[in-house]
Amino acid sequence: MKVGVFVCHCGSNIEATVDTAAVAAAAREFPGVVFATDTMYTCSEPGQDEIVNAIKEHNLGGIVVASCTPRMHEQTFRRTVERAGLNKYLFEMANIREHVSWIGKDREANTNKSVDLVRMATEKLLRNRPLYSKKFDINKRVLVIGGGVAGIQAALDCADGGLEVVMVEKTSTIGGKMAKLDKTFPTVDCSSCILGPRMVDVAQHPNITLYAYSEIEEINGYVGNFEIKVKKKATYVNWDSCTGCGICMEKCPSKKATDYFNEGIGKTTAINIPFPQAIPKKAKIDPDFCTKLTKGKCGVCAKVCPSGCIDYEMQDEFVTEKVGAIVTATGYDLFDWSVYGEYGAGRYPDVITGLQYERMLSASGPTGGHIKRPSDGKEPKNIVFIQCVGSRDKSVGRPYCTGFCCMYTAKQAILTKDHLPDSQSYVFYMDIRAVGKLYDEFTRRAMEEYDTKYIRGRVSMIYPKGEKLLVRGADTLMGSQVEVDADLVVLAVGAEASAGASELAEKLRISYDSYGFYMEGHPKLKPVETNTAGVYLAGACQGPKDIPSSVAQGSAAAAKVLGLFSKDQLESDPQVSIVDIKRCIGCGKCIQTCPFGAIKEMEFRGMVKADVIETICQGCGICTSTCPQGAIQLQHSTDNQILSEVNALCQF
């Protein structure tokens, strides 16, 4: 292979501390190099043209560019060499900017190091092979996991774009956290008024199939061709015939079931429809509380149901759906704040979460929109809001900022004043984070127009004092101790990854951070992609998010899916593993360790061999480092390529 080497000055970014001409001169001595030069800006149009011309003039078979990081311009230059008729994998980069010129000023050492890096890149390039993508058909259906606002947005955008959508929601209604909110900041819009119609759209959209009260059991396949096994959990109610009339709920004698929708404020019946606007509006039996299911006695609902849809024998059911892309919108859960002993660890009924307070504020909630102390039903006068409960707190393993608590607390303080004009709200906070359009103005209104007392400091203790709760904290601005006699304490509990997020991630083969939030493809440039092709993220599953951000991500994920499906066929990344059938002994170690299930056994002349499914292989190379005899090689990162790089550096 005749190799051309281009050493970039990057203006003075590199040239200032690397003698690029000397690097080019040294490169001329390397095996294979027939042309080497230094250029001002290799990535510029004239710079790229120079590469194209050199390829033609010197009949080059491969190119090394020594410049910035390949994370910046590898794609650019691959297109350049492709333009000159070379396969785009006959290209290597040496990073002499981020890894050399920018991290030290010793020109001699930098030049010397650059020469090494170019030698290494050249040795690797000499072992590069042209790689070709394979095309494969795609199934233009999309799975949306989670029916919160992000999932709804993604589903509707996709469906409107003409795609068939399968939505899987684990609870018996879609709507997610937003459906539980009374109002939204900073406009104080009615949450269910703006979300409700979108939920109805989901139910009515001809392109959307909704599986509520269902979970993902298994995911197989790869971008374009996933196969999903959905578990439809037993509802004990035949949803095909259930009309949602609610008679069963009225007659059900077991009225002590946990009301999950209302965050445990109040109780509900064992057979229930979570809330009047639920989508789908279907009843389901909570088997933990139904006496027919627990004790075999009762059966009232079956008797009263006009459509005869009660079925106590119902079992979980599995359905298989084939899709080409997946949007994950599994949202978040509230942090379990009972770890905080200083807040009573859950022992005081009048210390509640912000979300419970939302349900209390909501006209359709368990209190009919009246603010009442859970302990005695009395209207509170002094209400203390505590910020950063399970946020920005290393001691409970939650060092991150949930981001939206400051805003909902301000909103709740405002609503409190609306509901109870005589009340006084106190907010203990650390910092006010109100970055967003009209957000800061909103918190100001809470303070200034609604007379909410903001106290910068942490609460050190809450303890009961008669009927009230004594809230003791510090006011760090005043430098004094503060005590408030509170009737009700509302904790701004932070968000954490939803329960089961990591298990789902493993099924999706996507990665997640140490808190269980899903990892985006790139923190800046790929906010809704994951590292598994065809799997996208929307909403708070990627990290705590407020409604507009969740919606934006839902739309962004939808746009990604629509973009992906704009082609009839996809091209696979050819940097995948390949099995040398002659060397494979069929021990299966690669199959065992492949995180993607991309290697399968096959028969070859009566012997077992490994076989890579190119479209599933993600190119991590775990198989290559696992195979003792090197029979499976990750193309573009083969053992011989890495060994040649090692040898280029280490020659005694």
Partner: protein, 333 residues
């Protein structure tokens, strides 16, 4: 199998051998071959014995000379119905091969017996003044080996002639078998393996350790007997040692490549090696190549509490992981 067993037990040896032969006789009609040991070119050596016909069984001899780990032959006989006579340590190799799906359990018939240890030929050679080329007579009891060589008689204590692996054996009985002849001695797998020798070596200075290997491997002839005798070197004809793609090693006679090969061997055996010691026994120039594998096993044990060759259903630690590794303390920068 350092268990000192009384002289009166010698009769047992004869008895279980007969029982073993009966077992093989019973099974042979259903099998293509049964592998055991028989006498070899002199009274001090045994050799693997492939029994295909009934009369072959008569030649079977189990003794402290039955050093070879016959599990090495199993992957090459895949597809055939094979019987194999195993010492406790050999049976662990069988377990490993089963674990890695390199043999089919239903094709293998395992004959176990209570093993009281095998000899280390190099110890005998030393005891005989460095020469075992003219052995005229050899008889073994539980406690002694009587050898006549060059018209001189030697009575050597068996305990001192046993292979190192035997003096600290924790698995004298096959861990897996279809037939077991004789009384089981009792496995002690729960006890820790003994790595005192490795630890002693590790206490040497860096140049001493490095220098030791440079010197030892200088005489390596790269015959790869260590590899080919290893029951778990299953790459066989496709070993990285001789391949050009991947090109890990040159064919030049240099210590670097010889040493590198031993590291490759040890690493590829990490979590798989049962320390049967065949690598070292097979070495025609007596290089102590087992130590690398022992060190690897020591690390595997300390880090993952894992021991190879006891559970056919287990996953070797380097082919699995835990999100949280209790025994890995990462460097703090």
């Amino acid at each position: 199998m350092g268990n000192p067993r009384s002289e009166s037990n010698k009769g047992d040896q004869v008895k279980f051998q007969e029982e073993l032969k009966d077992n093989i006789r019973k099974a042979l009609p259903e099998l293509d071959v049964v592998i055991g040991w028989c006498g070899s070119f002199d009274p001090l050596h045994a050799t693997p014995h492939f029994m295909r016909r009934e009369e072959d069984i008569d030649k079977l001899e189990i003794s402290p000379l039955s050093v070879h780990n016959l599990a090495t032959y199993l992957p090459g006989l895949r597809g055939k119905k094979v019987g194999i006579v195993v010492k406790g340590c050999d049976s662990r190799s069988v377990v490993e091969l089963l674990q890695e799906n390199l043999i089919n359990r239903e094709d293998i018939t395992i004959f176990g017996f209570p093993c009281t240890g095998v000899v280390d030929q190099s110890k005998i050679k030393k005891a005989l003044g460095g020469h075992t080329g003219n052995i005229e007579f050899c008889d073994m009891s539980e406690s002694v080996i009587v050898i006549k060589s060059e018209d001189k008689a030697y009575t050597l204590p068996m305990a001192e002639m046993l292979a190192d692996k035997c003096s600290s054996c924790r698995y004298p009985d096959a861990v897996i078998s279809d037939y077991f002849a004789g009384e089981k001695i009792g496995n002690k797998g729960e006890e820790d393996a003994d790595y005192a020798a490795v630890e002693t070596f590790e206490n040497l200075s860096v140049p001493e350790r490095f220098g030791y290997w440079l010197k030892e491997f200088d005489r390596c002839i790269r015959c790869y007997a260590c590899r080919n005798a290893c029951p778990l070197c299953v790459c066989r004809d496709h070993c990285a040692a001789e391949s050009r793609d991947p090109h890990w090693l040159s064919q030049e006679n240099n210590v670097r490549d010889k040493l590198m090969f031993q590291v490759i061997h040890a690493y590829h055996l990490a979590g798989r090696c049962t320390e049967c010691g065949e690598c070292q026994r097979a070495c025609p120039v007596d290089i102590p190549v087992l130590m690398f594998k022992q060190k690897m096993n020591k690390e595997i044990r300390d880090t993952f509490q894992y021991e190879a060759g006891v559970d056919p259903e287990a996953t070797p630690p380097l082919l699995s992981f835990k999100m949280k590794e209790e025994n890995i303390t990462e460097k703090v920068w």
